[in-house]
Amino acid sequence: MNKPNYTQVGRSVPRIDGPLKVKGEAIYTDDMVLPRMAYGKIKRSPYAHAIIKKIDYSKALELPGVIAVITGEDGPNKWGIVPQTANEVALAVGKVRFWGEGVAAVAAIDEETAEAALDLIEVEYEPLPVLLDPQESMQRANEVRIHEDAPENILHAGEQLFGDPDKAFAECTYVLEKEFHTSYVNHAFLEPHTALASFDTPSGQLQMWSSTQVPHYLHRQLSIVLEMPMNKIRVTLPAIGGAFGGKGEASPADFCAALLSRKIGRPVKVTYERSEVFATNKGRHPCHMKMKIGLDQDGYIQAIDFDNTLDGGAYAGWGIVVMFYTASMIHLPYKVPNARARVRRVYTNKPTCGAMRGLGGVQPRYAMECMLDEMAEMVGISPYELKMKNAVESGYLSVSNLHVPHTEYKKCLQTAVEKSGYLEKHGKLPFGKGIGLAGGYYISGTAYTLYQAYKPHTTVLIRVDTEGGVTVHCAAADIGQGCNTVMAQMAAEELGIRYEDVHVVSGDTETGTFDLGSFASRLTYASGVAIKDAAAQINQKLKEVAAGMVGCRADQLEIKDGRFYSKFEPKKAIEWEKVVDVYTNAVGTLVGIGHFSPPRLKGIDLTRGKRVQGANIGHSPTFGFSCQIWEVDVDLETGKIRVAKVTEAGDCGQAVNPMSVDGQVEGSIMFAMGQALYEEMRLDAEGKMINASLHDYKVPTAMELPEIDTTIVDSYDPTAPFGVKESGEGPVQPTIPAITNAVYDAIGVRFTDLPITPEKVLRALKEKQALNSECSGS
């Protein structure tokens, strides 16, 4: 299918919130102050695992300026992003399960008083043994149980079997089996969580402002914890200072602000310190993976066996979803005819893991892309050739029933290889210099809501009149990724006007129509479908009026560049505003409302037992693909890895805003580079985090910025609105294995645990040297 000729989609336009942000005038939650507002602070546990024997806050209440104190008993209902596994509470009830878990919260007239009050709250603990390693946690489950309802200290375990991997492995020419370990990393978004709650006692109405990326799921959780109907709660998003999954669940800040506000009948704001951001974590799951891949004599993948133990930390969070995603992610972007996955998500006494950019994909991608690199060497071909051979094509249906309507993955591989000169450099650079390739993919939305419901995932309402012009309403969350700008562009495209003339009202559960939230790289696709649907209704009504004005039939009219014109006699035309004026005068404000429900895949019949293994996780309307090639210099004396250049080529479908896509890709590259080379939260033996600051937790700075060359490959998914896919999470997938493969090319060492620190590099070089001298000596 040919790409339509777009004018607004495909334009690199500046973000609509750009000027406010550069002026410092964008309002984030912590910038807000309301009349009578109190400040909330949370008292946190110094133990990683302990029974709370007693909390005495009488002295805190006596401190002048303290208004109220709450503990777990004030809001004990369990909440969780996945309702089937909801096991978190606003503040600990009876027991703490990780260092830094909240045990009480104070509201006071100012932050200083609230802070001082925390010291006056006396908590008596009975420490319990601390389990920090998932293997140990499973082994000692009889003796130490983190949750009463999880006797093996396992949240959930799953097994998926497709085809006959054992038989396939027996027939394979090349089989490789390895273990990989990924590290414990945090999103490190710049804006700490903040929640401002304003409960109006007379009306029983709660207004929340929160730094969340999931206003709808926060709305639901507030309703559960506060035992209030959703229609009495309104969630509004001010500007959001980054999220990356870390604001993809409610946070205790939300509940404490709301519970305190309801208790004292005045607004309460809770803003986290950076140490609290680390303590409440919800970052990427450390994974302990065993992967086995079998290739036939020609290098085609025949089977994969994947075993993954996810270190989940103290509570459930997104855990079960992440777990099944890691199982699902082995089925693409290569054709895998036989596969087995055995996965389990284990409780430990650590700040809980959750959703983080590229959820569930990054860890298995690291293992798989590194192994294919090694297996190419076994086969005697280049990793590029091996990956091209096995890459999926448009229309592919995996054995796990993942349907890929469209892909340009091979074009991504080709483009990155050509632009980087990979084939000329790989295996031929001097010792210490290396080049590595890896590919990846990600979903563009999910197939199901997290709770059982068949409602549309996104609704868009477009309002047109002479006063407001065009306003797009949708409760989507612009967390910095730029969805407001992209929605304006898509609406303008469909209505035949300019994006500058579209207003977007988002991030509000009352003024915005329904949306599930910003996660799973879903918004461009989902809102695109709903926008097209809504705009079509508006265009139809305006065409009926315009037809009379220009003197032709409505179905002969086209709308472009702010004009209605007859497609047969283009001179018969009229300005868009004039038509709106006539329509508004005659009828009043015009609205169109559109919905998006993810397509249900044919062949999956839940009623007749053709069930999809893995709780249907991994299905998506379409998928984005990409390839990255990294060039590194390894300093043989210090072990430091310097990245010289990154070449990326991505298939994000039709780019709605290419400048914004480039920003997502570049941001992803630096984000994932942090996990590969620098980042790791560290705990002492008692489970206390020892680097809970941005001083000790090292994220990449501008000094680490390498040369980055990105390409948006020509792509258009004919099944998608405007041909779009995703670009926010796919580009984090290839980074870690591409760096690891480049380091192998440089020094001949394959690293299987992260991050690849200078210490590990030096140790590996020393071992390699010892081995070499042993070999040459014998």
Binding site: R15, D17, D31, F189, S693, L705
Partner: protein, 161 residues
């Protein structure tokens, strides 16, 4: 014990009652209500709270407000021209897609301004050093470096300060 101090912020003089331990970031945000200055870590690690003091970038979350008397403080709100036009660095950040979530942006722009005020044609390496203390988790820095470089060209050709 509160004491009354005088701070000159964005060419305006404020008389503010402060505690000797009050930090500049809190005074600027809460008492002067200039919330463009952000607090990302409160420990001097992330750079979001950067303001200029006598033209030099300073981390306002580890600076005592009383220590800033008699000095010229510039916050992000002080960069827009009197006719409402964006400063060339601000405009360049918008045009180059150097802004995503925007939380690091005020500090990043002020570090850039200090750099460009001294040298409007910095090398890429000099730009990176100039913003090395400002963490951005969204953009990957590439567009920020490009925006600063382009702003420098505008400034040197137009002579804007």
């Amino acid at each position: 014990m509160k004491q009354l101090i005088t701070l000159e912020i964005n060419n305006r003089v404020y008389e503010i009652p402060v505690d000797p331990k009050d930090l500049l970031v809190d005074v600027v945000r809460k008492k002067v209500a200039l919330t463009g200055t952000k607090k990302g870590c409160g420990q001097g690690d992330c750079g979001a709270c950067t303001v200029l003091i006598d033209g030099e970038p300073v981390l306002s979350c580890i600076t005592l407000a009383i220590a800033c008397q008699g000095k010229k403080i510039t916050t992000i709100e002080g960069l827009v021209a009197e006719d409402g036009k964006l400063h060339p660095i601000q405009q360049s950040f918008v045009d180059h897609g150097a802004v995503q979530c925007g939380f690091c942006t005020p500090g990043m722009i002020l570090s850039s301004k200090s750099l460009l005020d001294k040298n409007s044609r910095p090398s890429e390496e000099e730009i990176k050093r100039g913003i090395a203390g400002n963490i951005c988790r969204c953009t990957g820095y590439k567009r920020i470096v490009a925006a600063i470089s382009a702003a420098g060209e505008t400034i040197s050709s137009e002579g804007v300060k």
